[in-house]
C-alpha cells in the first residue's frame, strides 16, 4: 500500500506508526498519512451525522411525549445529541474539511450515518428502545473509542460517553415503566424491542472477516476492538437488562454459553443490513429529505448572518 510513497513518506509513516504503537495521541498539527486522515474524516463525520440524523426519530416524539417530565428529559437528550454532533463536526474540521463539505457529503449520500436511524419511531416505547438499545450499543462502541489514536476524537468520546450512559439509563427507565404498566404498555414495549433488537446488533457493522476498514483501522488504533467483540459485549449486557424487566429479546438462539463465558446469539439478517444501507430502509429517503429541506429553508438565515457580519466589519473599519 505504501509502494508509491516517497522514502521520506515511508519514514514519516514508520515514525507515525511507532507513536501509535506507543499509545501516543495524534494531534491536528501532527503529520499523518493521508489515508489515516481520510479514514478518520469518514469515521468521525459518520459519527457526527449519526448524532444529527438521530435527532429525527427522537424529535418525532418530543411533541407527543406522554408526561411533561418525559418531554423535558427527551428534549434534554436531543439537545445533548445536537451538542455531540457539533463537537464531532469540530473534531472532523481539525482534519481540514469544512462543515459545509461535510453536509454536502451527507446530502449526496457520499457520507453515511448509523443505519439504525433509517428505522421509524412508531410508538412512545420506541423512544425507550432507542435510548436503551441504540444508545447502549453506541456506548459500547464509544467506550472503546475513548482510547482511539486521534486526540480530538478520543477526548470527544470521553465527554460523549458520560452523557450517553445517562441517556441509556433514561431509555431503560422508560422500558421499565412500560413493563410495570398496563397490558397495552407491556405489549408496546415488547413490540419496540422486537423491532429494534436486530438493527441494534447491526450497528456494530459486518463480521470482522467482512469488515472493509477494520484491519487498517485497528493497526492505526482508530478502532480499538473488533466489530464482533463489541457486539458480543453488547449482547451480554443487554440479555441481563432485558431479563430484569421481563422483556424477551427476539432471538430463539440466544443462550448462555458456559464455555465461551458469553451468550450465543442467532445470525444477523445481512440481507436486511445491506438493503437498508443501500437505501431501502424504511426511512432513508425521509431522513435525508428532511435534512436537506431544513438546510435549504435555513439558507436565507445563514446568508443574513454573513451579510450582517460583513456590514459590521465594514462599519467598524469605517469608524476606525
Amino acid at each position: 500500500m505504501t509502494n508509491d510513497s516517497s522514502p521520506n513518506e515511508q519514514q514519516l509513516e514508520a515514525a507515525f506508526q511507532a507513536r501509535i504503537d506507543a499509545e501516543e495521541k495524534i494531534e491536528p498539527k501532527d503529520w499523518m498519512p493521508e489515508r489515516y486522515r481520510k479514514n478518520l474524516i469518514r469515521q468521525i463525520s459518520q459519527h457526527a451525522h449519526s448524532e444529527v440524523i438521530g435527532m429525527q426519530p427522537e424529535g418525532n416524539w418530543i411533541t407527543r411525549a406522554p408526561t411533561l417530565h418525559r418531554k423535558a428529559v427527551l428534549l434534554a437528550k436531543v439537545q445533548d445529541e445536537c451538542g455531540h454532533g457539533l463537537y464531532l463536526y469540530s473534531a472532523t474540521e481539525t482534519l481540514g474539511i469544512t462543515r459545509e463539505e461535510l453536509i454536502e457529503a451527507l446530502h449526496s449520500g457520499a457520507a453515511k450515518y448509523a443505519s439504525i436511524f433509517n428505522y421509524p419511531s412508531l410508538t412512545w416505547a420506541d423512544i425507550g428502545a432507542i435510548g436503551w438499545l441504540v444508545d447502549g450499543a453506541a456506548i459500547v462502541n464509544q467506550v472503546s473509542l475513548q482510547r482511539t489514536s486521534y486526540g480530538p476524537y478520543a477526548r470527544g468520546m470521553v465527554r460523549i460517553c458520560k452523557e450517553e450512559s445517562f441517556h441509556q439509563r433514561q431509555g431503560y427507565h422508560i422500558m421499565m415503566t412500560l413493563m410495570q404498566g398496563s397490558d397495552e404498555q407491556r405489549a408496546m414495549a415488547q413490540d419496540a424491542v422486537n423491532r429494534f433488537w436486530w438493527p441494534s446488533l447491526m450497528m456494530f457493522g459486518p463480521h470482522d472477516a467482512e469488515s472493509a476498514h477494520s484491519a487498517q483501522s485497528m493497526t492505526w488504533k482508530i478502532k480499538r476492538q473488533s466489530n464482533d467483540e463489541l457486539r458480543q459485549k453488547f449482547v451480554d449486557q443487554s440479555v441481563e437488562q432485558a431479563e430484569v424487566i421481563g422483556l424477551t429479546l427476539p432471538d430463539p438462539d440466544l443462550k448462555w454459553n458456559e464455555e465461551r463465558g458469553h451468550y450465543d446469539f442467532g445470525e444477523i439478517d445481512w440481507d436486511e443490513f445491506n438493503r437498508v444501507i443501500s437505501g431501502s430502509g424504511p426511512c432513508n429517503r425521509q431522513r435525508i429529505a428532511h435534512h436537506v429541506a431544513a438546510h435549504e429553508d435555513g439558507a436565507w438565515v445563514r446568508e443574513a448572518i454573513a451579510a450582517h457580519e460583513a456590514k459590521k466589519q465594514q462599519r467598524a473599519s469605517k469608524a476606525a
Binding site: R64, G85, D297, W300
Partner: protein, 254 residues
C-alpha cells in the same frame, strides 16, 4: 390565604404554566428543523427551559387545586377551551424570522414580568420567577442579537422580519391586559401589574429595532381571548398532538 385567593392563585399559576407549555411546544417543533446545528441546539434549549417553567407553574397550580390534580392532568387532560395561554404563544412557528421575532418580543416581556413576579407575596411564585429569570436574560441576549442580524442582514431577512412583526403585532396587547382575576391578585400583592410593563417594554423594543432597518408596526388590529379559552384554531391541532398518548391510553403511568 382564603379559599378564594388560593383558587385565584392556582388559576394564575395555571395561566403562566399554559403560557410556558404552549410556547415551549412551538419551540420544540424546531427540533431538527433549524437553519444550522448551533441554532437547533439553542432552540431546543429554550424549549426545554419553557417546558421546565411549565412544570413549575403547573405543578404549583396543581398543588393549590389539590385532589388528584397534577402537572400532567393539567397539561394532558384539558381541551382547548380550558387552556388559558395567551394567543401569541400558540401561533404556528412560521419561518425562523417569525419564531425569533415572537421570542424576542416575549423575552423582553418575560424579563420585566419575572422581575416583578420576584416581588410577589406568594413565595412559591417569587421563587419560580427567580429560577426562570436567569435563563430569560440569556434567551433575551440571544433573541435580541437575532433581531439585529435579521434586521440588518439581507433584503430578504429584513422583509421576513418586517412581515413577522406585522403578523404578531395585534397579539401583543394581550400581554399587557389585566382582567378581574389578575387585578384581584395584584391587590393581594400576588400578581404582576401587566399594565405597568408596557412602557418599559416599548422603550426596550424600540431601542432594539432602532438599530435595524425594520419599522415597528403601528398599533391597529388586536386580538385577544386566550385567558378566557377563546383561542385561535391552531391550538386544537397542537393539543391533538401534545395529548395523543395520554388520551389514547388513559390512566397509565409513563
Amino acid at each position: 390565604m382564603t379559599t378564594d385567593l388560593t383558587r385565584a392563585t392556582a388559576d394564575y399559576a395555571v395561566r403562566l404554566g399554559d403560557d410556558a407549555l404552549i410556547l415551549g411546544h412551538r419551540l420544540s417543533e424546531w427540533c431538527s428543523n433549524g437553519p444550522f446545528l448551533e441554532e437547533d441546539l439553542a432552540l431546543t434549549n429554550v424549549a426545554l427551559d419553557y417546558i421546565g417553567r411549565a412544570r413549575m407553574f403547573l405543578g404549583y397550580g396543581a398543588q393549590l387545586i389539590g385532589g388528584d390534580c397534577t402537572e400532567d392532568t393539567l397539561a394532558y387532560q384539558r381541551d382547548c377551551r380550558e387552556f388559558t395561554n395567551l394567543l401569541i404563544n400558540e401561533l404556528p412557528r412560521g419561518d425562523f424570522a417569525f419564531t425569533m421575532a415572537r421570542q424576542y418580543l416575549l423575552d423582553e416581556h418575560a424579563l420585566l414580568f419575572l422581575e416583578a413576579l420576584q416581588g410577589s407575596s406568594d413565595a412559591e411564585l417569587a421563587a419560580i420567577a427567580t429560577k426562570a429569570i436567569k435563563e430569560t436574560r440569556y434567551h433575551l441576549r440571544r433573541s435580541r442579537e437575532w433581531m439585529l442580524r435579521l434586521g440588518d442582514g439581507t433584503e430578504e431577512s429584513r422583509r421576513r422580519l418586517q412581515q413577522a412583526l406585522e403578523d404578531i403585532w395585534g397579539y401583543l396587547p394581550e400581554l399587557f391586559a389585566m382582567d378581574e382575576l389578575e387585578r384581584e391578585l395584584l391587590a393581594a400583592g400576588i400578581a404582576v401589574d401587566r399594565e405597568a410593563l408596557e412602557a418599559p417594554w416599548r422603550r426596550a423594543v424600540s431601542a432594539t429595532f432602532a438599530e435595524t432597518d425594520v419599522t415597528l408596526p403601528a398599533d391597529g388590529w388586536r386580538v385577544d381571548g386566550g385567558r378566557t379559552g377563546y383561542h385561535t384554531e391552531h391550538l386544537g391541532h397542537l393539543l391533538s398532538e401534545l395529548q395523543f398518548v395520554q388520551r389514547a391510553y388513559p390512566g397509565c403511568q409513563w
